[in-house]
Symmetry: C2
Subunit: 447 residues, 2 copies
């Protein structure tokens, strides 16, 4: 009975200090996702979610990153997960393409007012919420994603149930039922990419997981073989399943250690090319001097992000040509480069028209080359062996800090240091309170 085994493994790990490298990666994941969620916190979709929660008449008791308003727990989870994913800027577990922190942080913020826990417990529940969904995701990958499922929503709900269930103090039986019930509340199709329905998936997955944990604690039962049965989660969702991945070496081997953080708010396959363009940009001089840009890249880049002329910010997130052009024009690639006005501006349009992608089977996924010809005949070339944010070249703590600062400061002002401190000392904090306070902008000073 896999749900029971997973429950036992989770509770065992929850009662033990995280290994130092896991604690470090959990904090990096949490810091990153909080920055991204704050960056997305003013998106109209978040406004809508908070307002819809109010229409339900729910009492607002739960914090939401980047917002001064509180929400009821399910609304806070939905808003937090939505904001964390709306800019496609969060994190990626490359083997599964899961963005694990969005649902885990959604559950964490939703459940926070329902059960008092120490900072160390909150960090462990967050880490284990990520780990549970990644383990299940590995067991059904890549066939699950290939069949059209948005794996962040489907596996994420299990991570949310795990994180919320641990914080609510569920025993092994109840946590197993929470996991099984949440497996019946999984959601999200890939067709939603490019719409607000995509970030709805981790938001709703977070809210659903939280609800399942509460219902299971109170006694709702669920099929004990929900994960492995022929009509259960793994086999319904995938044509190839390796159940041993779910609990094998749990606590010793951590998928969370393979989490990566996006340096650019767009599809990850374009990141090596953007790196290359950023490396060349200072040598270009006047943009009008560019005669042609040839990007030699892995064949997935044109396949997944081949759009040569996106018309808005959402489309641009799935255009490698826009990413390269924006890097050349602006010498930086952040949220501003994906605003619709910037996407439509004449210099970006002009450089895009001169840029083409050349798929190359010998190029790795985290590798790219650019050859750039200028009007005066000069040729600039560069080769990125491993993209920033790849497993071979993870974002440094300093790069991560700079990314979060750029997201947080336009929203909340000078609180990045306070958030960084609250995350990095979370395992010594008596509660989540300091962190909740500084990410909601209720204080602009160091806590």
């Amino acid at each position: 009975l896999i749900a029971a085994e997973l429950s036992r493994a989770l509770i065992g790990a929850y009662r033990t200090a995280l290994p130092p490298e896991v604690s470090r990666e959990a904090k990096r994941s949490l810091f990153n996702v909080l920055g991204v969620a704050i960056g997305g916190a003013r998106h109209e979709g978040v406004d809508i979610i908070i307002e819809a929660g109010r229409r339900f008449g729910a009492e607002a008791i739960a914090a939401i990153p980047g917002r001064t308003e509180l929400g009821d727990p399910q609304t806070a989870a939905l808003a937090t997960g939505f904001a964390a994913h709306v800019d496609d800027f969060d994190d990626t577990h490359l083997v599964t393409v899961i963005h694990p922190a969005s649902t885990a942080v959604a559950a964490l913020f939703g459940v926070a007012p329902l059960a008092p826990v120490s900072g160390a417990e909150a960090l462990r529940a967050f880490a284990l919420g990520c780990e549970a969904q990644l383990r299940v995701g590995v067991a059904i990958s890549p066939e699950h994603y290939d069949r059209g499922w948005h794996i962040t929503g489907t596996c994420g709900v299990i991570g949310a149930a795990a994180a919320a269930g641990l914080i609510l103090g569920l025993n092994e039986d109840a946590l197993a039922r929470a996991i099984a019930l949440s497996a019946n509340a999984a959601l999200g199709h890939r067709e939603a990419f490019g719409t607000m329905t995509k970030p709805f998936h981790p938001g709703k997955g977070g809210a659903n997981g939280l609800l399942c944990a509460l219902l299971a604690r109170a006694g709702v039962d669920a099929p004990s073989d929900a994960l492995e049965a022929a009509n259960g989660f793994t086999h319904v969702f995938s044509s190839r399943v390796d159940l041993a991945e779910i609990t094998g070496d749990f606590g010793a081997r951590w998928e969370l250690l393979s989490n990566t953080y996006k340096p650019y708010p767009c599809g990850i396959v374009a990141h090596p090319a953007i790196d290359a363009a950023l490396a060349l940009a200072p040598q270009v001089g006047a943009i009008a001097q560019i005669a042609s840009v040839e990007v030699r890249c892995h064949p997935l880049v044109p396949e997944l992000m081949g759009n040569p002329n996106p018309v808005d910010g959402l489309q641009a997130r799935f255009s490698a040509i826009h990413g390269v052009s924006a890097a050349l024009c602006d010498r930086t690639v952040g949220l501003a480069q994906y605003e619709t006005a910037r996407v439509r501006s004449s210099d970006a349009v002009a450089v895009r028209a001169k840029t083409r992608l050349v798929p190359d089977q010998t190029t790795r996924r985290d590798e790219a080359r650019i050859r750039l010809e200028l009007a005066d005949g000069r040729v600039l070339e560069t080769h990125v062996e491993h993209a920033r944010g790849s497993l071979a070249r993870p974002l440094t703590d300093e790069e991560l800090h700079a990314k979060v600062a750029a997201l947080v400061e336009p929203q909340l002002g000078d609180v990045t240091e306070a958030i960084a401190d609250a995350v990095h000392t979370l395992d010594a904090a008596p509660s989540l309170q300091s962190l909740l306070t500084c990410v909601t902008g209720r204080t602009a000073t160091r806590v």
Copy 2:
């Protein structure tokens, strides 16, 4: 764009009086499901759901059939859909095996306090909530169910979004987005059968559909091709899809007219055999006189409900042998025959031990024969050509009334006439208020 077409068809139908036969069937469906929901309203799962809603701090404004407490809209939807399905006693659209009224009534009760509508509008929204999910279900059947999905949860969420969206007054664009968003909140695996997770599906489907309608009205966007795209609802959920079923002849042809109402609270394939046993029961005399019972039936009966010796009420719901034995012992088959104590009682155990199922390829699904030998050598035989509650022999209005009365009266006392009146005059009522009042037991007198 199928979601837009379906939205247009739904809004067109919502603005038109229902054809008389559709209005009649909608009322029968509503009356039936309210009876079943009231019958299930004291299940511990409903207690848990209402209490969990309170823990979320939500303001209670929405009625729940069979309960005096109110719930917040999502909790009321979850509780209503759960109660409507927890006894496996609701309704069945035989072609798809969808139980359509459970999610539709869940959405109706959840949305009721959020938008004032006339009784006629409420009835139409309920009918169209059923129709929308049945249309989508036909388009992906039978492969969808065969792949392990509980179609009542997956298609039901679309029906719930439709019913709630119509009542909330969504325009065509918003209703199309609500449908597309809800297609991304579909849920439920068949492995859940036999646990509280099964009725969780229509409950959560109802709550999710309601949330999607509210979010779409406020502007959340969704993929316009969510239903027909390769990575969208129909193709992700089924290996064979007939999109023309979704909107073809909408308003002229009604799948709702093929809804049927269960006379017995157990799997429908056992119903012909139970009919036969009830027909013979008065001739049997003392139960101890039974020497053997041979049930000649469609092969699906032993395949789906072959359990010869269930140990509790939930298992008994999937045991045709228990249904036949209970009919012979008690001369009636209702909720009482599926209480665990009754399932374990010595006379039921003894008759089950003498009863066997004989699968027969020439027997139709709604047909059965029983041959019963008594200790004195007498042989009793009967043949049921069409089971009660089948399409060929639908429950009469009187039978439906008797079913609902047996469910309602232990819960709310003598209010069945009042509920029947409120349902049958709903299309002339200024609002849903009379119906909401009498199904919650706040009045025991005719309204």
